[in-house]
């Protein structure tokens, strides 16, 4: 316990007396943690954008005008039992007509043609949302096959718009999967780069103290007694850098919201504030681990004697 207290105290004293070396190390760890924070926010933007895209995609099953509602409801409940299906929304013929009129309110010839017909030419429809974009095809195939669906429902289906939208859906599916892959790759590369830069800076700060380490060993200090204060110092770099990073990102995200059109839909500041404690925990843990592990590895080289 005494040894532990001495190590902690020595770490704090070394940090305080380190002066510009300590400041430089904190600065580099702050840069590394800012990269981490940026990645977290980037993931937030990416997943939000992908969710928006996903939300816009659905498959609609249009029914004939004489399709009985009971049969449509039966089809709806059997669709809901499919594991790929997230939700099924029923829109009756009247609402479909109302929506159509609203959508084409400025299109006079279309509205005039509709009035000419007199009765409602539109049938009811079901909007089916899949859990994943890639699952729409299997849902569409399932409906086409008539096997597990309510018997006789095939003759009430007027059309399924999946086949018209297939190209767009496939493209979106590719965009989402590519974005995720690129995001993951960029994250890995940035994290590796940040870790390398931090590790080398801390190695440099310990390189300055290499003779000191040798002397400590020569006067009979144990490996832990030599290494411990450097690891505590590394943890202090991490803690201070975490505070600096989080303080920087507060006004930075607010500025992004005000000045960047890209964030018009997604409020990155709200995202940052509402997820503050998770972000704080991730950054703090990363900062401490980065500082402690870098110091541990850097001191090891000079401890062999």
């Amino acid at each position: 316990m005494t040894e532990f207290k001495r190590i902690i105290k020595a770490g704090f004293i070394n940090f305080k007396r380190g002066g510009s070396v300590s400041v430089a190390a904190v600065l580099v760890v702050t840069i590394a943690l800012s990269v981490f924070a940026f990645i977290i926010l980037y993931q937030g933007v990416l997943y939000f954008s992908l969710d928006v895209i996903r939300d816009k995609v659905d498959v609609r099953i249009y029914f004939t005008t004489d399709a009985p509602e009971s049969k449509i409801m039966l089809l709806k409940s059997s669709l809901l039992k499919l594991p790929e299906v997230d939700s099924v929304l029923y829109t009756d013929a009247e609402t479909a007509l109302k929506n159509f009129r609203e959508r084409h309110s400025g299109d006079y010839p279309t509205i005039a043609a509709l009035d000419e017909i007199g009765n409602n030419p539109l049938g009811a429809y079901l909007s089916v949302k899949a859990k994943e974009i890639s699952q729409y095809e299997s849902i569409a195939n399932f409906m086409k096959s008539d096997n597990a669906l309510v018997l006789g429902s095939a003759n009430i289906i007027y059309k399924v718009n999946y086949y018209q939208n297939k190209l767009v859906i496939d493209k979106l599916n590719n965009i989402i999967s590519d974005s995720q892959k690129i995001g993951f790759l960029a994250t890995i590369i940035l994290v590796i780069l940040s870790v390398i830069v931090t590790l080398n800076t801390i190695r440099l700060t310990i390189f300055i103290a290499r003779e000191e380490i040798g002397v400590m060993r020569l006067v009979g200090a144990s490996k832990m007694r030599v290494r411990g204060p450097f690891m505590v110092e590394g943890a202090i770099y991490g803690i201070i850098a975490t505070i600096a990073t989080l303080v920087i990102f507060w006004p930075f995200t607010a500025w992004l919201v005000r000045n960047t059109a890209w964030f018009g839909v997604f409020n990155i500041y709200d995202y940052y504030v509402s997820n503050f404690f998770q972000i704080f925990a991730i950054i703090l843990l990363s900062g401490i681990l980065l500082g402690v592990i870098s110091s541990f590895l850097a001191v090891r080289k000079y401890l062999n004697k």
Binding site: E212, R217, V219
Partner: protein, 222 residues
């Protein structure tokens, strides 16, 4: 106490020690003399296992120091006090903390540290420099601080490698007197130096080295 058995040390293109065999008994004051590059420092570093021999073995009592594991080596080093020409003090620690660190290394309590450090600093006439950093001390003061650090844990052996190399004659005389006093109190002292005056003032056993070999081992120098 110390036994070098046919020890050789060869660096890439230079022989630092050439088949050295020598014994030093407990309580002796041995001066190792020779020009720069004669092998004095390598010889002292071998005892601390700070250098490994290319051939032969070095014993501290019956222990082959180069076969020790890390933990055992740490324990052995706690029995040896070391003084270097360039002092090798911890630059970011005050005089008090430099001595305290050596005591902490051997597991002394805070109370023991608080009572012994001022005492040893008083012995080397540095009690007024307790909270000064090494850079704030003169060469002679730094060396006295290094001696205080070396003797604080009452080691059985003191190795002093050119301890007066950077000092003026007055400080040199003071350091030699302190080393003699330490020897009188029972510790074995190995002093490596190229200063003939220092050896003459010690007046004890002298080992002369040239090109990594012991060329003379005299218990009674001129």
């Amino acid at each position: 106490m110390i036994y070098f058995n046919n020890v050789s040390k060869v660096y890439k293109d230079a022989v630092a020690l050439d088949d050295v065999t020598v014994a030093i008994t407990a309580g002796e004051f041995v001066s190792i003399v020779g020009h720069s590059g004669a092998g004095k420092t390598t010889l002292t570093k071998m005892i601390l296992a700070d250098e490994n021999p290319t051939d032969g073995s070095v014993f501290f009592e019956s222990i082959n120091v180069h076969q020790l594991k890390n933990k055992e080596l740490t324990k052995l080093r706690r029995r040896i006090g070391v003084i270097f020409q360039d002092f090798k003090l911890l630059p970011n620690k005050t005089a008090y903390e430099n001595i305290a660190f050596a005591m902490e290394a051997v597991g002394k309590t805070d109370e023991e540290i608080a009572s012994d450090v001022p005492h040893v600093l008083e012995l080397v006439d540095l009690s007024h420099r307790l909270h000064h950093f090494p850079t704030e001390l003169s060469g002679g003061e730094q060396q006295r601080l290094a001696i205080a650090r070396a003797i604080i844990n009452q080691p059985e052996l003191i190795i002093a490698d050119e301890p007066t190399g950077n000092l003026d004659p007055i400080n040199t005389h003071e350091i030699v007197q302190i080393l003699k006093k330490i020897n009188d109190l029972g510790a074995t002292v190995i002093l490596a130096t190229h200063n003939r005056g220092v050896i003459d003032s010690v007046g004890k056993r002298v080992i002369t080295m040239e090109n990594g070999k012991i060329v003379r081992d005299s218990k009674h120098p001129r």
